[in-house]
Symmetry: none
Subunit: 404 residues, 2 copies
Amino acid sequence: MSLFDVYRQLRKPPDGKIVLVVFDGLGGLPRQPGGPTELEAADSPHLDTLAAEGSCGLLDNVLPGLTPGSGPAHLGLFGYDPLEYDIGRGLLAALGIGFPIEPGDLAARINFCTIDPDTGFVADRRAGRIPNETNAQLVALLNEITLPDCQLFVRTVKEHRACVVFRAPDLYDDLNDTDPQTVGLHPPHPVVAADPRSEKAATLVAEFIQKAQAILEPHQPANGLLLRGFARYEKLPQLDEIFGIRAAAIATYPMYKGVAALVGMHVLDDAGESVADEFDCLERHFDDYDFFFLHIKKTDSYGEDGNWDAKVHVIEEGDAQLPRARALDPAVLAVTADHSTPCALKTHSWHPVPVALWGRWARRDAVEVFTERACAAGGLGRLRGIHLMPLLVAHALGFEKYGA
Amino acid sequence: MSLFDVYRQLRKPPDGKIVLVVFDGLGGLPRQPGGPTELEAADSPHLDTLAAEGSCGLLDNVLPGLTPGSGPAHLGLFGYDPLEYDIGRGLLAALGIGFPIEPGDLAARINFCTIDPDTGFVADRRAGRIPNETNAQLVALLNEITLPDCQLFVRTVKEHRACVVFRAPDLYDDLNDTDPQTVGLHPPHPVVAADPRSEKAATLVAEFIQKAQAILEPHQPANGLLLRGFARYEKLPQLDEIFGIRAAAIATYPMYKGVAALVGMHVLDDAGESVADEFDCLERHFDDYDFFFLHIKKTDSYGEDGNWDAKVHVIEEGDAQLPRARALDPAVLAVTADHSTPCALKTHSWHPVPVALWGRWARRDAVEVFTERACAAGGLGRLRGIHLMPLLVAHALGFEKYGA
């Protein structure tokens, strides 16, 4: 029996609200050996109280040693094994710009590229990183393309990056990337279907590429395009039918709204922009849902910039808002991250993320402060991220007993 | 390769005896925030010594967040993944009253119910919770029923609950419950086979129900019956052939004897009644087996009653006996629980259970006392319960190396 089938059999209405606050990229590392992490450096008394009164641990949102991308990391936090629910990159690109993806859509990433007119070989896989305005002009041209019995949506991402969505029945995604991954040696690969059911998509994509190349030809350096990460959107099991909870997402960036929508959360459209705005939104809607995912983005952004002070400040900003969530009297309040983004690495990392789970039925452990180091000795131990959702639901008394 | 196949390939005669003491429902919670758990409140110096000298950790006997029933929890402790070895409720009901179940038997739970004579609808799903004596009289009548080429065993559980076992070749259990789960709206559901191989069972069960209804008709309020939890008993892999150990069970309640028998333990019939009696039994049989499962029931019973002092006392009672197990000089002595039963919840809970594993080859960790909080920082970490058995066997040097 699958885990989701187990949860489906055991679910019952939760006894109170669950609030999950995710600081994106929260986990960190010291700037120099022996120093504090960003979280240790932050003055975050409310997070510490939450940790002291609750159960703490460390989460691996994909698997130990694997650095999660944002999509898989959040799927893991929402209970979906990212190794099983493999959301393709084309789909994540579409979610990342807020495209309203529908089940059955086939999405892919586009790179505008430079093609040598003499050889036909790829000369620059990023077309000299054209400005966003040029990108938008080219995308407008590509949206003029018509395909037989297929809706086409081309959208700008930024610089040389765009994405494309094909909407028609029976489009499957076992298609190769056209990017040869080399410069000056090969033309773009033709698209080939690796299984019979993907042949319809291969034909449509080939027609799209042919028409797109004709349109782009005079637009050097962006006189060609490469397609990668073909991904059909298969509707995921939804949180309400797995766990029996009505879930809402409070997030300010399209990617996180998109992943939340994939799992069946209602994405609130009044989340505002600041962390304080997001807690305002939580207060406004607190009576309307069982579960709230509140996403704080900029810990990750500043981690990627290597901006230590700014990352620490965002932790403190979130900490200062936390009492507002407690004041709403939720059954469960948990704080964690999707992955680590240490300023020292300026990128996502594999380091497990701290988690504090607070509530009436949380078994207090010996952890007194909310840091990576302290949480390592907590009562939740080191868990796969997929176990967090069932723990949240359990602490809200939302499950029957398993077996007699 | 399955885990059991791995163990089968690696097993060798253990170097000494293994004793596993299970305090049922041991894990707890504070009565008020910040207070001690039952285990923290107990004066249990011998458990503390065991923890201080051994390796400690926390176990999830099903999965994090899932509250184990007694059957799945013990299967987990014995190394059987309860998600894979799904012992149906009918079977657990039969084990719970000590019925000598045999492979191929089909078991189900019976509820005596009240049926409205005018509408035929279920009017009371528990027949007003009839006394045990009435139950026994009705069960005696039902045992008079004869079925073609099928042995029938109906047994009292208590109040409105009974169980039935059908014994014939080829009885499979993909059958629906007849309980409509509503009152005043529906008659009992007919039994329907969801696959062809369960059709023989469906026919026999339908005949049983028809004859039973005719017998019960004049016995209002128990003028009907509902069947639930159909479960065929498929023989499980046995401990001796998986781990190469001769195992014995010392338990005082039928359910635990039953689950132990399912996995191939020899259930000792001189376990007595008190905890001290059980340790007497351990001493008497210590030379005769490699492995002993000693089950202490009343920590759970008092947890379910919410009787804090009595639960603490049972912990202390078990603690006082522990030196007798150590005096027998086992290779491995481990103490844990099947699940938590906090007095504050008065029911099983999902909280992980502490475990202490003591022996010549246990690696001592920093844990000094046997409590949930201390064990969270122990050297065993937080593990699925199914990993305890191989750890016990390993500490008795009962495995060869895996690979070269």
